[in-house]
Symmetry: C2
Subunit: 335 residues, 2 copies
């Protein structure tokens, strides 16, 4: 089996072969990079969004995705939730000596497919190889830019009393899928990762509810619990969630119980939290429901008068409890 060797990262002919023969060849027309130091790009607006993420998910391949798909979806989604149209991504790879080249090719095919699904191009890249034992297989970084063509100012500071809090899909599925694979719990067949590119969904929501959308956030590390706490904190408002309204798969709840983790703090990779003015909530929900990724979208709470920065959850018995900002979770490498 062909494996990654140190010379793949040494900058000579073998590096060039890897770039042109493997990376550029597989990415195909999802790649518009040239062998220069920078890509030169035309954008349609001088107001742009920029974001970066490294990806270290373990295992690299999971039931319905891999690190390549997550790396594109994560950055595309971070751009899209800021109201931007994602355009260009860079792709930087750190490979451990001995990593199977066929696995690398498979990851590149996922990158290509996800980039095509999102309608973005990979414009520049970098490949480093470290010695055996100095990394764990493969780490990726994607950094993206997009253009802000809409006259929106989405911000977590924009929340107002009465706004509705919407979640676009089942909470925690990505984390449970990965943790189940890692711990051998047997849930990974029933709970798949939600990893998906969401820029088209978000564009549709903004088309019909743009004027009423205060803020959108990709629910990743830290889960919904962290997102709503950041929202409440940034806007000095109070948020109240309705426990029974939270979209959670029974299998996910069961697996979370077994693992001793709280679904409220689990990462998704294709799930949004939106805060929307009340008169736009129905339109936003309808736009979400029209996409497979938003079938289970639901209003889960609202912005209320109360202690600024606080988040409360009302249980089925009507009693409410505080949703704390979790300090840590000891759940590494979910993305």
């Amino acid at each position: 089996m062909e494996k990654v060797v140190l010379d793949h990262g040494a900058g000579g002919g073998m590096s060039q072969e890897l770039i042109s023969g493997t990376i550029a060849a597989i990415l195909g027309d999802a790649y518009i990079g040239e062998m220069e130091d920078s890509a030169v790009l035309e954008v349609s607006s001088t107001r742009i969004a920029m974001t970066t993420d490294s990806f270290v998910v373990d295992p690299v391949f999971f039931g319905n995705g891999d690190i390549g798909k997550i790396a594109v979806a994560g950055t595309v989604n971070d751009l899209a939730v800021s109201g931007a149209k994602p355009l260009y991504l860079t792709l930087a790879v750190v490979l451990e000596e001995g990593f199977a080249l066929e696995d690398f090719r498979r990851i590149l095919r996922s990158v290509r497919d996800a980039a095509k699904a999102a309608g973005v191009k990979i414009v520049a890249g970098d490949t480093k190889v470290v010695r055996r034992g100095e990394a764990d297989g493969i780490f990726l970084n994607t950094t993206g830019i997009g253009v802000l063509e809409r006259p929106l100012q989405l911000s977590s500071r924009a929340l107002q009393t009465g706004d509705q809090v919407i979640v676009s899909g089942f909470l925690g599925d990505h984390s449970i899928h990965i943790l189940s694979m890692r711990e051998g719990l047997g849930f990974e067949e029933r709970v798949q990762s939600d990893c998906a590119v969401l820029n088209h969904v978000i564009a549709d929501v903004l088309d019909v509810a743009g004027d009423g959308v205060r803020c959108i956030r990709d629910i990743t590390r830290g889960g919904l619990g962290t997102v709503v706490n950041e929202f409440a904190d940034a806007s000095s408002t109070a948020i109240e969630l309705t426990e029974s309204a939270l979209p959670i798969r029974p299998e996910t709840a069961m697996a979370a119980d077994m693992l001793g983790v709280d679904v409220m703090y689990l990462a998704n990779e294709g799930n949004l939290c939106l805060v929307v003015a009340p008169e736009y909530a129905e339109a936003a929900l309808k736009a979400l429901n029209a996409h497979p990724e938003g079938t289970h979208a639901a209003v889960v709470g609202s912005v209320v008068t109360g202690d600024p920065g606080s988040v409360r959850m009302v249980g089925p018995d009507g009693r409410s409890s505080t949703v704390e900002l979790l300090y840590g979770a000891q759940l590494p490498r979910l993305c």
Copy 2:
């Protein structure tokens, strides 16, 4: 001693403390990121350059620099050699559990100082923590964008017969410094790394010689030998170098001999190869010489008629030999 723990990367309160209390606090006004998913930026042109690099240098701290300085200089220089004015960088960090927090702070101070020297802002970041043994201390990724305000089309395809090949500084110093530290050769005091941000030098060269500059390349992995081969190949020209004209420190030559490596293929981190129309060569040299990083700049060869894609070097005895594109070099983690 405070150490990085898994919860620093978990996305909860401890991650936020690391971001606001350590990263944002140290970067200071070199950082304009907010706690949103993307940075929203204004640029002065719709023609932009974008580039990415991951950094895995070993050791992380060396005589006159560290991974933080290299991470900023590398990406700033890649933007600048494309003719762009570097503006914004993202900074993504992969930390190994157990890495000393004080070392991380020291690296962030280097990032800040290099960003200030270059006049760029860090606009977005990401921090992942992997378990002990899954990475080697710290890996960085910087991705940058800049604006192309000059009406230039710098390209390695633009070379023409008669053009002069200029190198801006001593070849190989960065590699020899790092390898000497790694191998305990004792040269690291006498041969320091050349790591430096070069955007101001490049801007000065383009100011006086812009119309005659065909192409500039940062001499990094693969060294000058790889750069000139790529130039000759991309432009289907032949390049002839004069061995005696190459700026090489005697100590660097000596250390390279001891290590059994060829200076022609060693990486720099603050050294440029420029190809300039003959009538602009003097002006370009003068502009380089005016900067400390360009004191030893020299014309080292020219574009000649000959086999397209070939590079030859004329020795002191007048005999010429081929400068091959090296296939590999087995020198990992120099940057």
